[in-house]
Amino acid sequence: MKLKGAEILLKALAEEGVDTIFGYPGGVVLDIYDEIYKTQFKHILVRHEQAAAHAADGYARASGNVGVCLVTSGPGATNTVTGIVTAYMDSIPIVVFTGQVPTALIGSDAFQEADITGITRPCTKHNFIVRKVEDLARTVKEALFIARSGRPGPVLVDLPKDVSQAETEYQESGPLKSAYHDPIYIPNLEALNETLQMIKQAKKPVIMVGGGVILGKASDELRKFVDKVQIPVTHTLMGIGAFPGTDSLSLGMPGMHGTYYANMAITHCDLLLTIGARFDDRVTGKLDEFAPNAKIIHIDIDAASINKNVLVDLPIISDSRSALQQLNKMLHQNHFTIPEDDRRKWLEQIRQWKEYAPLSYHREGEKIKPQYVIEMLYKLTKGDAIITTEVGQNQMWAAQFYLFNQPNTFLSSGGLGTMGYGFPAAIGAQVARPDKTVIDIAGDGSIQMNIQELATVVNYNIPVKVAILNNGFLGMVRQWQEIFYGERYSHTNISQIPDFVRLAEAYGAVGLRATKPEEVIPLIEEALNIPGPVVMDFAVDPQEGVYPMVKPGSPISDMDLGK
């Protein structure tokens, strides 16, 4: 059967199980859009290409499947770059299809031509330009395979216009099972045995988990493992939800804005079992004084992450699920018992740290505290929502005060720290999980970076809720200016902002505002009962900072616990 390139693209995607595309049309992808029109392929039209990439990313994080977006050449393609780097830094599987000028015009500075494969080479896991229609089907499938295999990441496929117009024979072949790049990770059994020995000998062990546990779909295995070994667990920002935040063994997040007890536990532990985390500088603080007394075991799928920042005692290259499954099997076979006396002492010490400095804030006053808003969002959604965040104070407070018990429910730009991520990511998450309440916790700065997506949520009645913690400042930068730059608030006052309620209404969404603490609960209740998109504008205390705080370059045991 002879098919056009545009048809082949959609067929190959469907064979790989892709049923949703986030995109924005343009000149060189007209043939593909024509095919989308004819086949009624599910396509969500965003209002800016950056949002298409973030929405695909949010879709991937919430569903655990690959997210797909489609944009035109030139500016359409370059607008996705921030979304691509965001996904790259957090190892999120997305495939970005970009249109390209016809092959004969490539390199001639044609209208809307950009060398997008050149531009994205350092920030994609891999990218392709399809020069012949005969290569198209295979490339599409390979792109999806590469995006989701091994350490996942973004893949870009550049499609010249003449390739989507040309015809070739097409045979259905089902999803691609392997590619020439086909990493297999079997954990080293001896190393896992040694891990168990080290756990047995440890008096003060800590487990640190990262995004790799979520990407590896290993949360259930982790829970089983921890139940058995009774070791306290700290999770990085990317690891939120990998282990239940409400569990008594949970230490919350470590690092710059981590909990006192997570940072103390890491600093004093004698064994740090790290799974699927990469020792980011925001986690480790001053490297020499990170877990100074601990033997470190590092389980990671990416050999390049091991011994990159922190030198480890026992490296294990494996996906998180295989390693934990095997560990659980060994625990079962070996009738593993924990050294109870030692463990009791250690857990008691941690209990004391938790009691000494729990996450807290001053609740009194006339103004709404941003942390209170998040606590109430947690309470009123019963901890069962998918939360996306923007970047800055809103992100840290969300990570601290909303407790997550399930993986794939906290979506945040951890590595790149992309303002403007949360709202389009929430769109992607809601499309992936129509059954869930999806809330973007935003600041008044970052929401304005992709606010045009209000048109998208109204267009498709995507019932995302946006909670703006509105303090009239670029809050996190302001906090640094307050602490490190003598309160010289250079260009962080953004109190010239739109009326978000009226703005939401102008787009056709519902806008609600709270200015007093007692208005918070009724407002959230009202918003949650509205079956469509809602913008909640909370006028919060601009003086509020994120604490604890470790100054950059300081050891994580050196925390400012706030005023």
Partner: protein, 165 residues
């Protein structure tokens, strides 16, 4: 740690853009590639890149892992001097005016290089050898009036003792 020269041999897919990915790994971290040689292997779909870079030990390990991660990279091998054959070729364009002709020809004989192009007052010499050999020869010719030079950079093959790679 002291920066040392390392010879790294890569088998990669023979596709456009691959070299740019490989060199990107070095460039991003501010490391220079001292020499680089790329050509197809017996399998036309696979190319071999042989490159030399100066790096300290820990950085070398990082680079090797980063290279290994690239989808187009099939294999990364570090070639140790004692466990591989390493060769470089240099073409030297040199003046052979009367004053220096005798000295040049003596050196040609001494280093066993070939004269592959000859005019009345100018010739091109080919020197093949280990990097030390080519270097020594080049340093000898330099004061005699070298006008142009082109070097292949090191190419190398391991002795294929599997324990070494």
């Amino acid at each position: 740690m002291e920066a040392e020269e390392h010879v790294i041999s890569l088998l990669v897919s023979n596709r456009p853009g691959v070299l740019s990915r490989v060199s990107g790994v070095f460039g991003r971290q501010g490391y220079n590639i001292e020499s680089l040689c790329v050509a197809e292997t017996i399998d036309p779909q696979v190319s071999r890149i042989t490159l030399v870079s100066k790096a300290d030990l820990s950085f070398k390990e990082k680079i090797k892992k980063q290279l290994d991660k690239l989808v187009d990279v099939i294999e990364v091998i570090e070639l140790k001097r004692t466990k591989s054959v390493q060769r470089e070729m240099i073409l030297i364009g040199i003046s052979i005016k009367k004053k220096v002709r005798a000295d040049v020809m003596k050196a040609v004989e001494m280093f066993g290089c070939k004269v592959i192009f000859l005019k009345a007052d100018y010739c091109i010499l080919e020197i093949v050898g280990s990097k030390e050999e080519t270097e020594t020869a080049f340093n000898f010719f330099k004061p005699l009036g070298v006008q142009e030079i082109a070097r292949t950079g090191v190419i190398a093959l391991s002795h294929r003792n599997n324990n070494d790679i």
